[in-house]
């Protein structure tokens, strides 16, 4: 055995000789480095945004480092209540209370703006702190602003800088609103400790005025106080309020678990795509150094020394690549966080904070994953190169033979993946099963690609007439190209299949939601009337008897906090608007008589609700059966639907959040005239009137924004695949020289050669569609029928749109042409003489 002191310099000598290759071909080092960086970036980014969200849940709702210990909310589950109760509590000396009002505005140019109104004076850290020099309270705004700036017109809207970037807002800009001449106050960036996330902050009274909810609150935050004082507070609560402890963090985390799991899956997908690229780059760097390694072996270098030197080299790449990838991932996470925050807010009503910079404590996890994966990726090519035969003969045959063998083996693995995926799809009962099925379909598609391409190229080759020599060569050479290009094409296929599946799923979901909205919005007009329904009813019966009025109640079940209770007005139009997925016999009749309830699909799928199951609604009422199951798209909570009379039996005091107006049976209504008369009566302000189209528009805007982060990650994955093709084309450069020289010598012009190189890649991209199309569709089916129902409790049928398929082909072509243009241009520009010289090398 060689002594370590003697071995190390020998290994270093071998390393030095191996590194010489990168001095001659620095691009190859760059490609390997790029593969590792890319594999790390998106994985780190998704991990960090998930970690940030989890940290936010763990801290709970927080504002300027103030955590509420609980909330005072409306006793009957309403979304708002009168501020008079707060004033009464303050008068009793309870000063650790923070009144808040939530409101979502539809802005003209920046989508939906979520705003929280707070009483600045009740906040322990106030804007005036910097002005009065009180060291006990922390300043929360720039020193040039005073308390008056927050409390007096034009007021200030405090927003997280990341959210400002997302909405393309600059400091001091005002936000114009739709359906009103009002606008939101000038925007100022929130400091990092504010905890401000998706919701912007402004003065409570100013928000009440702009939102036309004067004197109303959504909740009162109970800030830290002694147990004794808290007990006193609970004893003296007015009847319209109840105390809800701040137990939300856990439920928030549980609520959004599915979304985070999906995000982590997207991160892993990008990681796998990146690994494909790293593997490709490793293989190229080893293949190019075959002669060098052979010479080293002939000079007496042992296999062990070669393994050591190559491992040191790989480790260096992994360390530097992961560090850069980690840094870029953290930067990307900061950019993507508001997208996730938006999705969380719109999908779950959960708000997370947006720090100005996202940094996790330990970069160890991604580093370990990258190192392990790079090592796994390098094992096979490293073994092949180190153990290659010392004689140069039959090198080409061996390479071709190895490529064919590899494709066959990959096809077998792909088939195994698909078999397991089929089994999982039959027995899946958790989101993990769904995601595993998804991963197996994705991986199966990518692994089946080389064999599918090889087979289809053979068929195409048979169809080419003998008198088309260039076409003949193009097809024959494409089969050769498949050897070195297969991995990058597999990475592109992964990205395209994911893209196709996701787009089809989102399209299908969108169509289902739109249909569902058409059906569910039974009334043409909705009024956001918190009180005064009686006056409104009186006015309508006098002035517009042809208009029927319906109350809409939504509340939280007192004991079963995860259940939302909604009412269905006792009218045929509303009853017909509910399409049941499953029902018992005579369900509509029983429901109308208040003899049972309907449950949402989510409750059935995720909480185990069943037809005929007896449920408890409230004390004093016998249990009632579940009569039917209905779709409730977009609702992150399980819902029970009750006939209005049944709801009244349990919650007689509940005040409806909104009112719907519809034509009485058989009557015709001139809606614009009724609305004008109603506005003129002074009972309703124009901004309280929302028509059906407006609701649909807002709902679809929310829907479209919900997938922002997923689509951004999807786009980035495709970009990563494009980079992979670019790296592969550039790395294959040396291997293409011989072919190019021969063609040029035989009279194939420069422009013909450029066209042929681009055509080859385009042909491979187009042929990849034989995998991308079916697997994309399959993936969409898995997402729509397996993953989404298991994650969110919503099911919908997969709708295939034929235009999607040519678009995918064009996307693949564009990706390939853009990625190969420069390397192809570089190759075709080289003079034939220098091509011949490279051949001689």
């Amino acid at each position: 055995m060689t002594k370590p002191s003697a071995t190390m310099p020998a290994v270093m000598t071998v390393s030095h000789a191996l590194a010489g290759h990168y001095r001659r071909h620095p691009l190859q080092a760059l490609f390997l480095f790029t593969g590792i960086v890319i594999a790390t970036v998106l994985l780190v980014a998704t991990q960090l945004i998930n970690a940030q969200a989890q940290a936010s849940y763990a801290k709970g709702t927080q504002l300027f480092e103030q955590n509420p210990i609980g909330y005072l909310v409306a006793a009957q589950g309403q979304r708002q209540f009168s501020m008079a109760s707060y004033v009464a509590l303050r008068r009793q000396g309870f000063d650790q209370l923070l009144p808040v009002l939530h409101h979502n505005f539809q802005s003209q140019h920046h989508g939906i703006i979520a705003v929280m109104g707070i009483d600045w004076l009740s906040l322990p850290a106030t804007p005036q702190a910097s002005a009065n020099g009180n060291s006990q309270v922390k300043p929360i705004a720039p020193a040039d602003l005073t308390l008056e700036d927050f409390l007096l017109p034009p007021y200030r809207l405090m927003m997280a800088p990341a959210r400002m970037t997302q909405l393309a807002l600059s400091a001091d800009q005002t936000i114009a609103l739709t359906n009103t001449t009002s606008s939101l106050p000038p925007v100022i960036p929130a400091p990092d400790n504010s905890g401000v996330g998706h919701q912007a902050l402004m003065d409570l009274q100013a928000l009440q005025a702009i939102s036309n909810r004067q004197g109303m609150l959504s909740a009162i935050w109970v800030l830290p106080m002694s147990e004794q004082r808290l007990a006193q507070l609970q004893q003296q609560l007015p009847p319209d309020l109840r105390f809800r402890p701040a137990a939300e963090p856990l439920s928030q985390a549980a609520l959004a678990e599915s979304l985070h799991l999906n995000l982590a899956a997207m991160g892993l997908l990008s990681f796998v795509v990146g690994l494909f690229l790293a593997f490709n780059a490793i293989q190229f760097s080893y293949t190019d150094r075959q002669p060098l390694l052979r010479r080293l072996r002939l000079s007496g270098t042992s296999q062990r020394q070669l393994y050591q030197a190559l491992s040191i080299e790989l480790l260096l790449f992994v360390l530097v690549g992961s560090a850069v990838g980690y840094w870029l991932g953290a930067w990307l996470a900061t950019l993507l966080l508001p997208g996730l925050g938006q999705t969380l807010a719109q999908l779950y009503g959960v708000y997370i904070s947006y720090p100005n910079k996202v940094i996790a404590d330990l970069p160890l996890m991604p580093l370990l994953m990258t190192s392990l994966a790079a090592l796994l990726a390098a094992i096979v090519p490293m073994r092949q190169i180190v153990q290659q035969p010392l004689l140069n003969r039959y090198r080409q045959q061996i390479a071709q033979h190895q490529a064919r063998n590899r494709d066959r083996q990959l096809l077998l693995v792909a088939l195994a993946c698909l078999l397991v995926a089929v089994a999982l799809s039959l027995w899946a009962n958790s989101l993990w099963h769904g995601l595993a099925c998804l991963a197996l379909v994705l991986l199966g598609g990518a692994l089946a690609l080389p064999a599918a391409l090889r087979a289809s190229l053979s068929i195409v080759q048979r169809l080419v007439p003998a008198n088309r020599p260039l076409l003949q060569w193009l097809i024959a050479d494409s089969r050769w190209l498949l050897g070195p290009a297969a991995i990058s094409l597999m990475a592109m296929t992964l990205a395209l299949v994911a893209n196709s599946g996701l787009n089809t799923m989102i399209g299908s979901f969108r169509a289902a939601t739109l249909d569902w909205l058409e059906q569910r919005l039974a009334a043409p007009i909705y009024l956001s009337v918190a009180d005064g329904q009686r006056q409104l009813g009186d006015w309508l019966s006098q002035h517009a008897p042809q208009v029927a009025i319906a109350e809409r109640h939504t509340l939280r079940h007192g004991q079963l906090a995860h259940i939302e209770i909604a009412s269905l007005p006792p009218m045929a139009a509303f009853r017909n608007s509910i399409e049941l997925i499953e029902q018992v016999a005579d369900a509509p009749q029983q429901f109308a008589q208040g003899q049972g309830i309907y449950i949402s699909e989510r409750h059935q799928r995720l909480d185990g609700g069943e037809l005929d199951q007896q449920v408890w609604l409230c004390d004093g009422l016998p249990n009632v059966p579940v009569l039917g199951v209905y779709h409730d798209y977009g609702n992150p909570r399980s819902q029970w639907l009750l006939d209005e009379k049944l709801l009244r039996q349990c919650w007689p005091q509940h005040i409806a959040q909104s009112t719907a107006l519809l034509a009485a049976e058989g009557a015709e209504v001139d809606w614009p005239q009724v609305m004008t008369a109603l506005s003129d009566s002074g009972l309703i302000r124009p901004e309280q009137i929302i028509d059906q189209q407006q609701i649909k528009k807002m709902a679809m805007a929310v829907f479209d924004q919900t997938f922002t982060v997923t689509e951004a990650l999807n786009g980035l994955t495709l970009l990563v695949a494009g980079i992979g093709i670019f790296c592969a084309t550039s790395a294959i450069h040396h291997h293409r020289v011989q072919q190019q020289a021969q063609l040029a010598a035989m009279g194939v012009s420069q422009s013909q050669r450029l066209l042929m190189i681009l055509s080859q890649w385009s042909l491979l991209a187009l042929l990849s569609m034989i995998i991308v199309w079916p697997f994309g569709t399959l993936l969409a089916w898995v997402l729509a029928s397996l993953v989404t129902p298991l994650a969110f409790g919503w099911s919908f049928s997969t709708e295939l749109v034929w235009q999607h398929y040519p678009v995918l082909a064009v996307l693949a072509l564009a990706c390939v042409v853009v990625a190969t243009l420069w390397p192809s241009w570089r190759l075709h520009r080289v003079s034939i003489a220098s091509l011949l010289k490279e051949v001689d090398e």
Binding site: Y394, Q396, Q397, Q400, A466, N467, R468, P469, L470, Q472, W473, I475, A476, D477, S478, R479, W480, Q738, Q739, A741, Q742, A744, A745, M746, G747, V748, S749, Q750, S751, Q752, S831, I832, A833, L836, V839, D840
Partner: protein
Amino acid sequence: MLELETISHWFEPTAAADPAQRVLHDVSLTLQQGQSLALMGNSGSGKSTLLQIAAGLEHPNQGQVRLAGQPLYQLSDNQLSALRRDKIGFVFQQFNLLPGLTVGDNILFQSRLSQQPIDNQWLKHLMTELAIDDLQHRLPEQLSGGQQQRVAIARAIAHKPCIVFADEPTGNLNDSLSHSVMALLSHLIKQANSSLLMVTHSAAMAGYADTVLELHQGQLTEASPA
């Protein structure tokens, strides 16, 4: 057929302080139809560069090359490519067959490219003479070195070019194989009435040509065949 007029060529220095490396200095030569010429010289003497310039593969710094009366370096890339397709055949040391195509497709590649009618009788004769007629459906990777070079020769003269350029055509073969390949090459070129400009470092191989010239310090000198 081929005229080289006062060709000078030099390589640009790699460092600013280095002088330019002159490889050819006022070289002129003429090659008639059906004539063969071997260029000899030490390694680095510039003989391959001269062949590449003569074949229109590398632009000389000075001088003019005419092939079949056409000034090569005044032609566009498309015109030059068409000329190579129709009138030139190449044989390289590295065999240079197109790996994805069968032997038959490789041999016919240039004829099909130039859209010339294929002379089947000539082709059959070629393949019999080169003893490759039973290899037509094989791929290049399934052939030995000698077989590959014989296929390369068939490809170079299948379309009966005006001139064949051969750069060390037997450089990768052993002595006995080199002689048999070279004898076949010169014999078939005569039959095709093509000219041959060959670069070789072997005096024995040069002996198959009608004329042998030696390149020394960038200039041509007469040399007697061995």
